[in-house]
Amino acid sequence: MIYLKNIYKAYKQGTFEVEVLKNINLTIEQGEFVSIMGPSGSGKSTLMNIIGCLDRPTYGEYILNDVNILHAEESKMALIRNKYIGFVFQHFHLLPRLSSLQNVELPLLYGGIKKRERYERAKEALIKVGLGERLHYLPNQLSGGQKQRVAIARAIVTQPKFILADEPTGALDSKSSKQVMDILSKLNMDGTTVIIITHDIEVASYASRQILIKDGELVQDGRGRNEFLRQH
């Protein structure tokens, strides 16, 4: 489903060119639970941005569901983000003036879904993450864990091809972290592809496949939780 070949990404910093990603080759199939780990500055966020169609590789091939992203137009990228990808961010990124329900409805709004269906689907997604009682709460009336669950509901409401979670537990206490990871695990068991970017081994251990990035290069790609954890 996700097919990355010879991905290379460089940023210009003044007169220098900083290579952030070098020759990344990666294939992720439907239904996988993948964690991408790496120390800060390793390039994992850039990789996430490329996989999430928020950024483009300098060169290389990224084929998502048979669409070559390198040459896609901006509006096509927006459509792909809307239809195929569900984002979960470290700092939740909920719109502060919208209720839980309205926040979850947003991707459907941009997807052109009618009002009645929007409401039903958003409500359903919020029930799925255990927030059926807090449909009309504003983000500042919710705890961190609850906010992240709203964000997960927003990510799954469009029934995307995969969920892309960037440090989803980075701003949460351990109890809320476990809750969030349990929800993501359950979603994966129901068939959703989940990709988590993290530097937390505890979080990475939920995934069935662990990828390690160092200095812009993919250094390890292992399957099975225990094997990976033994090595680190």
């Binding site: 928020l54 950024d55 509006s75 239809k83 003036r97 991707p107 941009y110 927003r154």
Partner: protein
């Protein structure tokens, strides 16, 4: 996402920053309001000006005597007769003319009840009513007898009554003009021109010679029978007068075209209105720049929001539309408030100036459309800035 959803998003964004939205709108409110007020006042004023010509239909002409320039400098023309009773008699018998309306005017310093006021005294004939409507408020008009028997009677206008009698009863009282006693028989209403009303009195023209010691007529208006022959008849009348005039009278008779005068006056007020409205229009543009500034600030402030929306699938076009609609809503709401205030302002000013406010639908519709287009024009820059934000930059932005 349809258009209605975009409007809802824009509206909720405006509502969530109430204070800022109102301040942003202020420039538009003042601009639209002042344009509406100014145009209403201007049109009301030009209507009042036009109403000064009421009764002077298209078939009346005023004839004046235009002295030669060199005779003017000697100052002698004032003593000459401009129209003689013989002129009047001949004009009345010209076939195309239905009425000849002579009037004399003199500004007199009258003293009544210890009040000394400069007053316009006009001598009129019964035909005066053909061109000028006189609204009697109290008392009565001149009768046939007053004209034919040269009665010493006078009509005064409201202003004169106010100046001389300060609210006490004026009818039946005696006014002394050039030593002659006149009895007040009625009070009539005159329209104020630009809020200025002068004291005025009417006396029968037949008593003018006995009062002012001259039989000469200063001003002459003729009414033509056939509306299609106004110019031709006027020409004939002037030719005849020029033939009749005494040789020592240097100058010639001419026609004052009231219609042309009216047109000219209307044009002047229209130009005035347009100039002032133009200045108000500039303030509206300044208001538009204010909207643009606030929108630019708002885009920076909402960088993260834009990033989130983009990550969730909003295309550039949708972000552009969202901010454009927001700017348009700001100016539209401002415009509507401005119209309400402008209409109110026009009524207030007109109540002071004593003329009716003319609120034209054209100006209101134009004001709404113009303020909306201001929103589009000045919203374009900020909206484009928002649309062009890269999603990863926007998401990284620290609030």
């Amino acid at each position: 996402m349809n258009f209605l959803d975009s409007i809802k998003i824009a509206f909720s964004s405006i509502l969530s920053h109430k204070m800022r939205s109102i301040l942003t709108m202020l420039g538009i409110i003042i601009g639209v309001g002042s344009i509406i007020t100014i145009v209403a006042i201007g049109q009301g004023g030009s209507m009042v000006l036009k109403s000064q010509f009421v009764g002077s239909g298209n078939n009346t002409l005023e004839i004046i005597f235009q002295p030669d320039e060199n005779s003017l400098s000697t100052g002698s023309t004032m003593d000459f007769s401009t129209f003689t009773p013989e002129d009047l008699f001949q004009l009345k018998h010209l076939p195309g003319i239905s009425h000849v309306i002579p009037t004399n005017t003199s500004t007199e310093l009258l003293s009544i009840n210890d009040q000394q006021v400069n007053t316009n005294v006009k001598g009129i004939t019964k035909d005066y009513y053909v061109v000028n409507s006189i609204h009697i408020i109290s008392g009565k008009k001149f009768s046939e007898n007053d004209f034919s028997q040269s009665n010493n009677v006078v009509l005064i206008n409201q202003k004169a009554e106010k100046e001389f009698f300060k609210g006490s009863k004026s009818i039946g009282k005696i006014v002394e003009i050039r030593g002659q006693p006149f009895q007040i028989i009625g009070v009539y209403k005159t329209n104020a021109i630009f809020g200025v009303e002068t004291p005025e009195m009417l006396i029968p023209l037949s008593v003018w010679p006995a009062t002012f010691g001259t039989e000469n007529i200063q001003s002459l208006t003729i009414q033509v029978k056939n509306i299609n022959k106004v110019e031709k008849t006027g020409k004939e009348a002037v030719e005849m007068l020029n033939k009749l005039k005494s040789p020592e009278l240097k100058g010639k008779y001419q026609i004052v075209n009231l219609a042309a005068l009216k047109k000219g006056l209307t044009k002047v007020t229209d130009i005035m209105t347009m100039i002032i409205a133009g200045i108000a229009g500039i303030s509206l543009v300044v208001g538009g720049v204010g909207v643009m500034n606030i929108m630019l600030v708002s885009v920076t402030e909402r960088t993260r929001e834009i990033g989130i929306r983009k990550a969730l699938g909003a295309s550039r076009g949708k972000i552009l539309l969202q901010f454009l609609i927001e700017a348009m809503m700001l100016t539209l709401i401002g415009g509507i408030i401005g119209i309400a205030l402008g209409v109110g302002g026009a009524f207030i000013v007109s109540s002071f100036a004593h003329w009716p406010p003319l609120i034209s639908l054209k100006v209101i519709v134009g004001g709404v459309l113009f303020s909306m287009s201001l929103g589009i024009v000045f919203g374009l820059l900020p909206a484009n800035k928002a649309a062009k934000l890269e999603p990863i930059e926007a998401l990284r932005y620290e609030e």
